[in-house]
């Protein structure tokens, strides 16, 4: 028998280089680095921008390894590699890239996509004949774990690639990946893990999260591809007539038209779906000839509509697309010449990523135009330019100790072949997210899925995961079915599908919007006027209408806050503005407004903290401006209000934006005393925040997602209204019940923990308070509303904090008349 020597790494890389050359490409340094590292058996993370050839940096060595394996022995069919894409839209392009190389290299590999869109029959086929390369999402990967015979399926796995890892990292989908990877590594020790990511502030940590405590060698590969981004603001013609507050920016619509004319295709990003709808409408109003050549793209529109828009973008049929973060990701649209960002993006990385969607050819300039929606937001234009120039990019904070995801994962395994607790305990200890889980916490998680937690009743009928011969399993088919339907960590509110009477889906709106409509009402959605006809089984039937309408659905979604990078640059711009040493056109334009702020109050420098006291018929207002972003202001205002309330009975309503916050009370607020007695110190910070009512309210809201992920709230079958009898409930209710009956509950504690880490950003809050301690407090008593305080004052979203007895407050309140 003739023994053939397997090809060396060097020979394999030559194969890859030859293939690249045949395509007319030149392998880049980072691609060679990845090929080499992969073939040496290393794990790693590659940071490279979209459109730089990052896919082949990792596809290639996976295929090269297959060539090597084939030369050693005839290979069995079956799964060798999994490519994780965060969104379905990316899967097709990866499939095509892989297929092309596989064909040319003469490998007999098959490639398949498996997502929520994959039909049941294709999925069944895949189960019988797993492809060698599977392109899928984290959710679909967990669906595979929930199958019988999963271990067998994965036994020959060589590699998992997590593409767009930065997209997953700041979400619970990353935790889902960590858990799946921990199991796969246990099943196939030869498996490598790689990630591909955009640049973040915390690349090393990003790699640690992906790899956990995998003992293999690891390497971080950085592609040295730099993009030049040009940032300019659309300056209002007359700042005196420009609004002091607002967030839609429709006033600037006609100024955006020249940008559309100058470029082949423009993407207009708005911060929310309803603003995208409004901009679409407003553009058609000022330029009716745009009808038919502009498109609308957001997450609530029907998939087919979005696909059509994406295809039309490729085909250069559209002059502009108004979109939301729905187009942040996805395949590149080469014709895009310019980007417009309406309203502050709040985050430098997001802004840079959007800018990067224009000017695709290597070395091409990316152009982005920032449209401020109110006067002060002009400062953000200047701040963004500075941040981009200095290359400041945010970190993404990974979720840790997400017990909701862990509970879901355990049931997923139990629905599949079942698990032995000691094995899984060992596996999860290798993940970044759960390496600190104590034995006691583990017991609690197991109890949660097996006995439903501590029970006080003699006859308890809890049933979910059952233990047979040490194997944890789900035996009840109804429970297994419901669990499969709810795998995933992307939560959403109940939505109603909007459908034409004659058939054809348009998209989804929130139930709360639908419930406010009367028959015959006309509303604007998906870029058309629609008349509400009827609602049945979670479907709203509509017909087209000629009538114009004012109503636009709004979709829930938290308001974004300045990232830490954004707040730092904004403070620097503010400081230079106060000192009068800035040359930014945005700040120059703001001149008259800043003069008014100076006249009525003060423009603070970096070493000053501005406090404004104003009295109106609403009551006593105190405004404080730390310029730290909404998230930090949320915690700071709750802290200050709580500490003042300890001095005597008082109630506050609290509002905030990214620049500052407001305390409003019927009584005079002893703000001078508060600063004199150091009420913004960091002593007992956590203790005091946790005691402020706001924190509880925030935790309650956080709990909505947690309850859904942990399987407490079943959302029903997708698109179907088939309710499960008498099992409807709300996360709110669960929160109250847990607080009363089981205050030590892990999920409840997680809600509080998430508030501290992600919402109040405790570490940022602490730094901010330390910074304030060094600042000079400047208290002013403006005779009337100032440009700084106005946007906060008119904000209707408010928090409440009180130390008065509820009944005393009620006595002064009125039940609302409507």
């Amino acid at each position: 028998m003739r023994v053939q020597k397997p090809p060396s790494d060097r020979a394999l890389i030559t194969t890859a280089v030859d293939w690249f050359t045949a395509q007319g490409w030149d392998p880049q340094k980072f691609q060679r680095a990845c090929w080499q590292a992969y073939l040496q058996g290393k794990n790693g993370l590659l940071t490279a921008p979209t459109g730089s050839g990052k896919t082949y940096a990792l596809l290639m060595p996976i295929l090269l390894e297959a060539l090597r394996m084939r030369s050693i022995a005839k290979q069995k069919r079956g799964l060798r590699a999994i490519w994780i894409a965060p969104i379905r839209a990316l899967t097709k392009e990866i499939e095509a890239s892989a297929q092309r190389a596989i064909n040319d290299l003469g490998l007999d590999w098959s490639v398949a996509i498996r997502t929520g869109d994959t039909t049941a029959s294709s999925r069944a086929k895949q189960k019988r004949n797993m492809p060698e390369l599977l392109i899928t999402t984290p959710e679909s990967l967990h669906m595979l774990l929930a199958q019988k015979g999963a271990a067998e399926l994965f036994s020959e796995m060589r590699c998992v690639v997590a593409d767009e890892w930065h997209e997953l990292l700041g979400s619970k989908r990353a935790v889902q990946m960590e858990l799946a990877l921990s199991r796969l590594r246990a099943w196939c020790p030869a498996m490598r893990t790689w990630g591909i990511s955009a640049t973040m502030g915390n690349m090393d940590q990003a790699m640690d999260v992906l790899l956990g405590s995998d003992p293999g060698e690891r390497v971080l590969v950085r592609a040295a591809v730099k993009k030049v981004i040009e940032v300019s603001s659309v300056l209002p013609k007359d700042i005196r007539k420009f609004p002091w507050a607002g967030h839609i920016g429709l006033r600037s619509v006609d100024q955006v038209l020249p940008i559309l004319q100058e470029n082949r295709t423009t993407l207009i990003f708005t911060n929310t779906r309803s603003f995208a709808e409004r901009w679409y409408q407003a553009l058609l109003d000022v330029a009716p000839d745009l009808a038919g050549v502009i498109g609308l793209h957001h997450g609530s529109l029907d998939r087919a509509t979005r696909d059509w828009v994406e295809q039309a973008l490729h085909d250069e049929k559209l002059k502009a697309v108004i979109c939301t973060s729905s187009l942040d990701l996805g395949v590149d649209f080469r014709p895009v010449g310019a980007i417009v960002q309406v309203g502050g993006p709040k985050n430098v990385a997001r802004f840079a990523q959007r800018a990067g969607r224009s000017g695709h050819r290597p070395g091409a300039l990316s152009k982005i135009h920032f449209v401020p929606t109110h006067a002060l937001e002009l400062l953000e234009g200047a701040a963004l330019r500075m941040a981009i120039k200095e290359g400041r990019i945010e970190s993404r904070i990974p979720y840790v100790r997400s017990f909701d995801v862990l509970c879901q994962y355990l049931v997923t395994l139990a629905v599949g072949d079942g698990f032995r607790q000691a094995e899984v305990r060992k596996e999860i200890a290798t993940t970044f997210s759960f390496n600190s889980v104590s034995d006691e916490e583990w017991e609690q998680v197991l109890a949660f899925v097996t006995t439903g937690g501590p029970t006080l009743l003699a006859y308890d009928e809890f049933k979910k995961v059952e233990v047979e011969d040490g194997v944890y399993k789900v035996l009840d088919r109804g429970i297994a079915l419901r669990h499969r339907m709810s795998i995933g960590t992307i939560t959403s509110d109940t939505s109603i599908r909007v459908k034409f009477l004659k058939g054809g889906y348009i998209g989804t709106v929130e139930e709360s919007f639908a419930s406010r409509l009367d028959v015959g009402d006309v509303f604007w959605f998906g870029g058309r006027n629609l008349e509400f006809v009827s609602i049945r089984n979670m479907e709203m039937l509509v017909r087209s209408s000629k009538e114009a309408s004012g109503k636009i659905p709004s979709w829930l979604g938290g308001r974004m806050s300045f990232s830490s990078e954004m707040s730092v640059v904004l403070r620097e711009v503010m400081d230079r503005t106060a000192k009068g040493i800035t040359t930014d056109p945005e700040v120059k334009k703001l001149g008259p407004l800043l003069a008014k702020q100076r006249e009525r109050s003060h423009v603070p420098q970096a070493n000053e903290l501005l406090v404004e006291r104003i009295r109106t018929k609403e009551g006593h207002h105190v405004f404080i401006y730390p310029f730290e972003g909404r998230a930090v202001h949320e915690g700071m205002s709750a802290l200050l209000a709580y500490r003042i309330s300890l001095l005597g009975p008082i109630s506050f309503s609290i509002a905030m934006n990214d620049y500052g916050f407001e305390l409003l009370s019927e009584q005079e607020i002893p703000i001078q005393d508060a600063f004199d007695s150091d009420l913004l110190s960091t002593d007992h910070l956590r203790h005091d925040i946790e005691r402020s009512l706001n924190e509880t309210e925030m935790a309650r809201r956080r709990f909505r997602d947690i309850a859904q992920v942990a399987g407490l709230v079943f959302k029903g079958y997708p698109g179907k209204a088939k309710a499960v009898r008498h099992l409807q409930s709300s996360a709110q209710l669960f929160f109250s019940v847990f607080e009363d009956m089981d205050p030590n509950n892990l999920l409840l504690r997680q809600a509080h923990e998430e508030v501290m880490t992600f919402q109040l950003e405790e570490s940022r809050l602490r730094n901010a308070l330390e910074r304030i301690a060094t600042q000079k407090i400047v208290i002013t008593d403006p005779p009337s509303i100032t440009p700084f305080c106005f946007p906060i004052m008119v904000d209707r979203l408010r928090e409440l904090l009180t130390s008065e007895k509820l009944e005393d407050r009620i006595a002064r309140m009125k039940a609302q008349l409507e």
């Binding site: 019927e666 709300s730 669960f734 019940v737 509950n745 409440l800 309140m813 009125k814 008349l817």
Partner: protein, 212 residues
């Protein structure tokens, strides 16, 4: 515990902070929407609601009966949340301790137990009940001559104060021809009512009932 009193069609009714009503002339305790067994129903489906909520509900009911000493307990529907489960035995035991008290259930949409289960609990079930000036039902309704008292809605009201303060509270809600009781059960939500000038509304706040 401070109760409030309302006069309807010349009858005085006491509104209790425990989210129940007492009718002194007939010594009748009136309660709506207990939703007993709800937590257990969820637990059977693999949803880990703390089980203590069931005991707490039963204990609250027991305390209320002991403190008001009624001749009759009138339940305005949704006594039991869904299909039979072990919490029903808890109710049977409680009921047996008060053998001399009459228990009547005006059935609601959730009351789907078998006839024999109600019999076992020595519970009379009726679709509605007319007594004195009142027409008792589960769903709020109109009656040509009698004043309707009902449950089903789980009424709550939004209170608005100065300085943009708001708070939601469970309430008793009395219109011109019908009144609605708050839900008694601990694992139930609130439906936000809108009131007219003529409506009389009482909120329950900790251990008091306040007219608002």
């Amino acid at each position: 515990m401070k109760r409030a009193v309302i006069q309807i069609r010349k009858e005085k009714l006491q509104l209790l902070p425990q989210k129940a009503m007492f009718w002194p002339t007939r010594k009748t305790l009136i309660i709506a929407d207990l939703h007993l067994g709800k937590a257990m129903h969820f637990r059977r489906a693999g949803i880990a609601v703390p089980s203590g909520i069931e005991q707490l509900n039963l204990q609250r009911l027991e305390d209320l009966i002991v403190s008001t000493r009624p001749i009759e307990v009138l339940l305005l529907g949704d006594l039991f949340h869904s299909d039979l489960n072990s919490t029903w035995q808890g109710f049977i035991d409680l009921r047996a301790k008060h053998a001399s008290t009459k228990f009547t259930l005006v059935t609601g949409n959730h009351d789907v137990l078998e006839e024999q289960d109600y019999t076992k609990a020595k519970l009379d079930t009726l679709p509605f009940l007319d007594r004195g000036p009142f027409h008792f039902t589960h769903h709020p309704t109109e009656h040509s001559s009698l004043y309707n008292l009902a449950g089903h809605v789980h009424p709550g009201i939004r209170m608005v104060g100065k300085a943009k303060q708001t708070v939601h509270l469970p309430c008793f809600f009395f219109g011109k021809t019908a009144g609605i009781l708050p839900a008694f059960g601990g694992f139930t939500g609130l439906y936000r009512m809108t009131r007219k000038e003529s409506d009389r509304v009482f909120v329950t706040v900790q251990d008091r009932v306040l007219r608002v």
